[in-house]
Symmetry: C2
Amino acid sequence: MDYLFIIGITAAVLTTVAFLPQVFKVYQTKHTKDISLVMYIIFIFGLILWTVYGVLLNSLPVILANSFTLILCFYIIFLKIKYG
Amino acid sequence: MDYLFIIGITAAVLTTVAFLPQVFKVYQTKHTKDISLVMYIIFIFGLILWTVYGVLLNSLPVILANSFTLILCFYIIFLKIKYG
């Protein structure tokens, strides 16, 4: 494995798992008032395009990282709509 | 320009500008309680690695998109620390 691959994978893992603490926080507090719904809507459209990009490039890391982030962001939007 | 490039650039623009509504929201309300500090700290480490990845790949779109997102996320962390 070359170092470029390792840096890319580490970057992808970090920008994906970063959303887990936000999910846990909202899940525990049931408060989402300060979170921007518009941010997550735009971000999700971006993630969908990144996933398409990964499919077209046949890049499994890009597909997996963005798909997992998509699930987390959809869940944050779901909680945001639920708790307002 | 091929369609792969257009999809990649559009994805990068969306996942970057997505943070603007969150910046505006915090700037206006001065409330950050529901936002996870840990999320932004992990995300910033990921963005730094993505920027390094872009430099090593000599990819200006990757460098620009991640640098701009870095600035926005640093500003959100600054406001989060300021307003708690």
